[in-house]
Amino acid sequence: MSEGYLLEVDRLITSFETERGLLRAVDQVSFKVPYGKTVGIVGESGCGKSVTAMSIMRLLPQPAGKILGGEIHFKGEDLLHSSDKRMQQVRGGEIGVIFQEPMSALNPVHRIGRQVAEVFRIHKKMGKKEAWDAATEMLDMLRIPAPAKRMMDYPHHLSGGMRQRVVIALALACRPDLIIADEPTTALDVTVQAQILDLLGNLQSEMGMSLVLITHDLGVIAETCDEVVVMYAGRVVESAPVDELFENPLHAYTKALLRSIPTLDTVPKSVLPTIPGTVAGLGDHSHGCRFCQRMGRDGPVTRERPKFKEVEPGHWLEICKECSNL
């Protein structure tokens, strides 16, 4: 156990029991979250980003989801072997979660106030009045206008951006040490996204929290993260500090991702570089390099599992003869 990391995920394996047998959604994922920093996890849908997050919280769908290997240490504590009672304290108390779809994260039949106050009542054992006041203050902190009035609203009264602020209020209520935000702005307009990311950044530095930000948007990563973890087909293919990753990407998948997004500077109507094919289904993953599998490369490289190594200080890479450029 090294000092200086709030969260350490080490060779995490998460599988799902299905009709087709045990399918491995997360295959030996390792990364570390330093105190007070933001770590972005980026990848295409189905690459295991969200499953990784849910594994940390031990919120996998039951009974199908199973953590079959690896370790998760949070403030030195082994989360995989903590009791369910302890996990209830951790969730919402020490680790807050922000989900993508604020409408499904909020209960439609309860007032906003009751839902935010509930966090204080459960985790801080506050009385009704005290919890209500704390909740109002929380909404105010998230720059929700007229917080006392909003407390009496139902989720459907609020706009998407306001709802997402309420969800963030829920996550931040107990001033957790870690926030896991799973695509927090994907459902929002760019203008509202900018507001929310700005707010999240400010609150983070005010409270000294660490943030794990899961997104598919490399722009969001570049603007908010200190470190980036790139996932492909259940594995981490590369991780590095943000400047390093954008300037000196070493894995073919990272490079392809970075090239395939149109920016405001690309020549209009020019041919965008694409990644051929699609991600293989969970059951069809090769044991070897999975990006080689996507590119249709066969041979010895695809049979042996590539090693995940630190190639430069802080820059980790899955070493494959075809995909990594060393």
Binding site: E44, S45, P145, S159, G160, G161, M162, D189, V190, T191, V192, Q193, A194, Q195, L197, D198, H216, D217, L218, G219, V220, I221, A222, E223, V242, D243, F246, A256, L257, L258, S260, I261, P262, T263, L264, T266, P268, K269, S270, V271, L272, P273, T274, I275, T278
Partner: protein, 338 residues
Amino acid sequence: MFEPVSDTPMLTAENLRVHFPVKSGVFLRQTGAVKAVDGISLELGVGETLGLVGESGCGKSTLGKALVRLLEPTSGRIIFEGRDISHISQRVLRPMRRDFQMIFQDPGESLDGRMSVRSLIEEPFRIHGMGNRAERKKWVDDLLTTVGLSQAAAERYSFEFSGGQRQRIGIARALALKPKWLVCDEPVSALDVSVQSQILNLLVDLQKEFDLSYLFIAHDLSVVKHVSDRVAVMYLGKIVELAHSETIYRNPKHAYTKALLSAVPVADPKAKREKVLLEGDVPSPIDPPEGSAFGHRIDHPRYDETIGMDLSLREIEPGHWVAADPCCLEPEDWKKLA
């Protein structure tokens, strides 16, 4: 009102309005209207892509649907190849529908899961009574090749495909009748970046091959810039700025356009820019502010002046149109227009 892109624009909208009635009370009397599209004029040239951007709820999709007459406009005119189609009946409209089609955002929801890909793509031919069985089979196979799917895909069902492949099926369906122009309503926003670039390339290729025109609706400004010749920025049912896409991104004039552009996250950690953060959300189109809608949102000191003022688009530079709104323009730009 606009300088035509080509001598005869393929499609012209004049002062188009689409209002949805709001009914309330026991007798469901109309008590108001959602002014989703509120006085829009635009032109679409042959082979041109007009990008349409704006926040959700600004009326982008409603405008797109009205232009292909999936909705009947409340007032104003839509002229397609010299013919006013704004109020003609569905019966008269049906044969004309070959010429304009729509690509939807969520290909998973817009394709019937109980139909095979072949019957999905064949459906437009059947509706329009075109070809015999053998001809239709050949057309479907050709279309699949055009959009980059294997012919074996025809006998499968849409849910067996990934999002990007489903969008290709949606595009094949839209192309079946050889339309002249297409509304693409957020065609790539549900897709992953690597697949998104495949579909964008396909749309650009198809445009060159068939000389198609697109009205390209999206909220991702980088995507819009990539495919569009001109871009229109919409805010609360109105176009507030319209120009060639290079111009609008290099030299935006309207405060809303500037705010939208600065909100786009840039995939370059070194480019730390000053952001113009907007407060609040788009106001309700049921009860829009009387004056400048954006001036109201940013609480501009000159808002009161704009009540009752003509805020319509004016040409500030050749080909660059912007709403004549003192709240949203730099003082020197406002002087040029006033």
